[in-house]
């Protein structure tokens, strides 16, 4: 009888532990809020493109600048470097997408100078404060916006690398009375999407804490310097 009670008790305790773990994992945050690109035209002069859309992003040295992180929905530390307003992006398929990034963060030399070149955008170029360039000074990079082109038999290839030049330390701290940053570099670029698919993107400049080659904190936590690009 004691053996039976012990066995049943063990199973019951195990079930409670597994159930509690499932409950915790289920309630854990999954994706940051979704940012859907604004469709600006339902036709395009670009061959193979059926619509045009735009997306606006920003990079901050302090994620407290990001609204959703300051509000009830914003889990995680609020003082890490981060992309904003979110890192969960959605763009239309077969579309010409124009991305504007307000780059508010300072920077350093990038370890891999190859990533100081613009790749995968229309014309292989971008604009920095209105000036068209195909690469930037590798000694002063704030972040990169890099979409991974991993092999897949079910979705079209899409590789993009856009280096974001750093602002000076003074510019990175320039803010108005409300605490909003005011002196960014403004980067714009365009890329063309293929069929529907899901892609990972992240910053390839090691900008986390120094625990491990600057890949700690924001670089090793989903939703700060990495995210998902949904092509729908």
């Amino acid at each position: 009888m004691n053996t039976l009670v012990g066995a049943v008790g063990t199973v019951a305790v195990g079930a409670v532990v597994v159930g509690a773990a499932a409950l915790v994992l289920h309630s854990a945050p999954t994706e940051p809020p979704l940012l859907t690109a604004t469709v600006t035209a339902n036709s395009s002069s670009t061959p193979g493109v059926t619509s045009e859309a735009s997306l606006e992003l920003a990079t901050y040295g302090d994620s407290s600048q990001i609204t959703w992180r300051r509000t009830n929905g914003g889990q995680g530390p609020h003082d890490w470097v981060s992309y904003g307003p979110t890192t969960n992006l959605q763009v239309p398929s077969h579309s010409l997408v124009t991305v504007t990034i307000q780059q508010y963060d300072s920077g350093e030399p990038i370890p891999n100078t190859f990533l100081a070149t613009v790749q995968g955008t229309v014309g292989g170029t971008m604009t920095v404060d209105g000036k068209t360039v195909s690469q930037v000074d590798s000694e002063s990079i704030g972040h990169t916006f890099t979409v991974h082109n991993y092999p897949s038999s079910t979705q079209d290839p899409l590789y993009i690398n856009v280096p974001l030049p750093a602002v000076s330390d003074d510019e990175a701290e320039a803010a108005d009375a409300a605490g909003r940053l005011t002196k960014p570099h403004v980067i714009t670029f365009q890329f063309v999407t293929g069929s529907a698919g899901t892609y990972a993107w992240n910053c390839e400049f090691p900008c986390g804490d120094g625990t491990y080659a600057k890949f700690g904190d924001a670089m090793s936590s989903y939703g700060y310097m990495s995210g998902t690009l949904h092509v729908v």
Partner: protein, 276 residues
């Protein structure tokens, strides 16, 4: 019984047929059947499995890997079958029924020099063969065959991207790997941050990418097509996305690809890319 030269009676062994018909003889026959059948099954598995489950063979290195698996399977099959056969014999022969009282101790083992020497010699020869074969195949991944000038590719891993540069073809870089068919390639592998592992499954190449260290490995692509490049060392948040493709082109197509990327094809590559 027989009588020896001094007139003493010496026990004689019964004929082979009679010994095989005894319970112990039947057990030995059963063990022999287990060994033979298991050897055959393991050999069949060893021959079938590499081609059925391993990736397509796209280089001489992957070909050597599959050959090694085949040879090791052939060498190991009889040994494994013998171990299983002895296990079967032990379980059957030394089994006690539920009504039997097991002895306090088993019978003492008598030494057999022939078996001991035979076991040591066979094991040593087998192990030495596998060691020499393995080291020889391992060395082949770092030793280039004479002839065509090798293509040098610098492979750089970083969280979570591979980049490839071609220092002797103009020094350009690419996020995708492209190689010429039938020309030796030397990969100089390193990392900018943490430890990664440069893995070309279809080419039998897997080598760690260590920060501040350059590791050299070589192979010769033997099949046209597009294959995988992956990171095989858990390296952080987006490790699972740290993959890209390797394209193997014929010589002229590779030269055109180099030119299109701002490089200069190495025309001194004897028997190299231009010959396709």
């Amino acid at each position: 019984m027989s009588v020896d030269t001094e007139g003493s009676e010496v026990p004689t062994r019964p004929p082979v047929r009679e010994r095989l018909a005894s319970p112990a003889g039947k057990l030995v026959v059963g063990v022999g059947v287990v060994v033979v059948v298991m050897s055959a099954l393991l050999l069949a598995f060893g021959i079938w499995w590499p081609n059925a489950s391993l990736p397509t063979t796209a280089s001489d290195t992957e070909d050597a890997v599959k050959s090694t698996i085949l040879v090791f399977s052939i060498a190991a099959a009889p040994v494994m079958a013998l171990v299983w056969g002895i296990g079967y014999y032990s379980l059957r022969h030394w089994r006690h029924g539920s009504g039997d009282e097991p002895p306090e101790d088993g019978p003492p083992l008598r030494g057999s020099n022939r078996i001991a020497v035979g076991w040591v010699v066979v094991s040593s020869v087998l192990t030495a063969f596998l060691l020499v074969w393995g080291l020889s195949e391992l060395t082949s991944t770092t030793t280039l065959a004479a002839g065509a000038k090798p293509l040098v590719v610098n492979v750089t891993g970083q969280q979570w991207l591979w980049t490839f540069s071609y220092p002797e073809d103009g020094g350009f870089s690419s996020p995708d790997l492209t190689l010429p068919k039938d020309r030796p390639v030397v990969f100089q592998v390193s990392s900018l941050d943490v430890i990664h592992s440069f893995w070309l499954p279809e080419m039998g190449i897997k080598v760690d990418a260590n920060p501040s260290v350059t590791t050299t490995v070589s192979t010769t692509p033997t099949l046209l097509g597009t294959f995988q490049v992956r990171c095989a060392e858990l390296c952080g948040l987006n490790h699972s996305y740290m993959e890209t493709t390797v394209k193997v082109l014929d010589g002229p197509a590779f030269d055109a690809w180099v030119t299109a990327h701002g490089g200069k094809p190495d025309v001194t590559a004897a028997g190299g890319t231009s010959n396709g």
